[in-house]
Subunit: 274 residues, 2 copies
């Protein structure tokens, strides 16, 4: 199934949460350390408990590159237990000159068969195009990120009056001939989201920054609702997967994602009834 | 030994070439395919033949992420045969929000013990600082890259009259309190190199783009010579490691790096005698 169709179906079911598997051996419940592959056990439990309620799963590659990349075995096994109708995103933030980006695209979208990858646009068009060759995939390109450092470059004003991230979004739209581009837009930037959502066109949006990073869920939903858009996912990592350290950690994460889904439904309905 | 000291010693010996191990199973000599690990055999032969003449070795991570990251075993074994006095760079172009960059830094600079890594600055200060914690390491941050896409964002003019890559370089200098920052500056941009080299301060420079990408060696040396600077390395990948497909491929690569060293020496001397 096309990645964009997977997303649309989940969005239509009222599912907007992307479960971020930033799995850290130092943060998972201690009782899992008795297993041979604690990270795999943790991921399997979270996937199993959250799959019915999630719009997507996202693997933060940094966490799997530890221990000389040995944890990639856990990532690959985790991937295999995710139901095929759920979008799976490689949060790898890759981007390099053309022939190197082509290798990254093959490694992650072909060899590992991820539906989707995050890409850093700094190196420009020829660094991004190799990721866009297959219309079945969905490529989330960084526009405005959720961190404080976004002010250093992404929010710089250009001579032509635009902000750099706005110029990046315009470029992404010009690269979207296969309709397989999306953007990353940090939920911590609620004002910029409101002011720029019209600029996004039809690009699906991946929003990190809710939860541990302090972004406001109500602001995000209000903005998308006002724009009559439902093609987005909100990533939640630490505040969801580490909800509990007890034996019932997976159940507590399930309760949290259901809670988030209910909050979102309520926020959409409130707006509708105004 | 500190990474910057490794570089200084090699530069003082007249060594400026960084051997880029962009090792691709489809491009290595066919007779190596009979080995169990052809990529490892190729790397070992190139390292063995070029180590006496190289300033650094650089691993392009994209090439080792193929086959579900299985090639990282070859990368790790290749690393172990490089003499300890030679700078080894992870060309990974990582960069993410703070806690994720911290994981990338641990994975590559601690777990794998690389001397150096390339970092993408798009996400700003908190995405870069985790890489700069250890003064023993040398962090090459992308300023202006060698590809055509560099015009899309890196060369955009800002409202304050600077070009984005110039603003990035100024930021890098402000982050260099441990004197472990360097910059990546594409050798294909010879005019920008000449016009901006004073802006670099004391930051060591990694220059890709010579060889297959068409950058001009004489222009680079002339600019560094005029600026009385010798703290730089020129990366050469495809045009050096794939010099020959024959049984003598490693010897041909050795001849090529010696040839490049001689060209550089001549270019420096010519200028001196003017």
């Amino acid at each position: 199934m096309k990645a964009t169709d997977k997303l649309k179906i989940k969005n239509n079911e009222g599912k907007f949460i992307c479960v971020g598997l930033d799995t850290d051996i130092n943060k998972i419940p201690r009782h899992l350390l008795k297993y041979e592959n604690p990270i795999l056990e943790f991921n399997k439990a979270i996937i199993d408990s959250c799959a019915d309620y999630a719009a997507a799963f996202k693997f933060n590659f940094a966490f799997y590159e530890r221990d000389k990349f040995k944890l990639f075995d856990d990532l690959i096994k985790s991937l295999s237990v995710i139901p095929k109708d759920i979008l799976v995103i490689a949060d790898a933030k890759r981007g390099d000159i053309g022939n190197t980006s082509e290798m990254y695209a093959k490694a992650i979208l072909v060899d590992m068969n991820f539906d989707s990858i995050t890409v850093n646009p700094y190196l420009g068009e020829d660094s991004v195009l190799p990721f866009l060759q297959n219309p079945e995939k969905l490529i989330f390109i960084l526009a405005l990120t959720s961190n404080s450092g976004s002010k250093d470059f992404e929010k710089m004003k250009l001579e032509n009056g635009k902000i750099l991230f706005q110029h990046v979004i315009e470029k992404i739209r010009s690269w979207d001939s296969k309709q397989n581009c999306g953007i990353v837009f940090g939920a911590t930037n609620s004002q910029e989201l409101q002011e720029n959502i019209k600029l996004f066109g039809n690009l699906p949006v991946l929003l990190p920054g809710i939860g541990a990073q302090g972004g406001n869920l109500a602001d995000v939903i209000s903005t998308f609702n006002s724009a009559s858009r439902k093609d987005f996912i909100i990533n939640v990592s630490r505040s969801l997967i580490y909800k509990s350290n007890g034996n019932n950690f997976a159940e507590e994460s399930m309760k949290e994602i259901i809670n988030l889904n209910n909050q979102i439904a309520t926020l959409f309905n409130i707006k509708k009834n105004l």
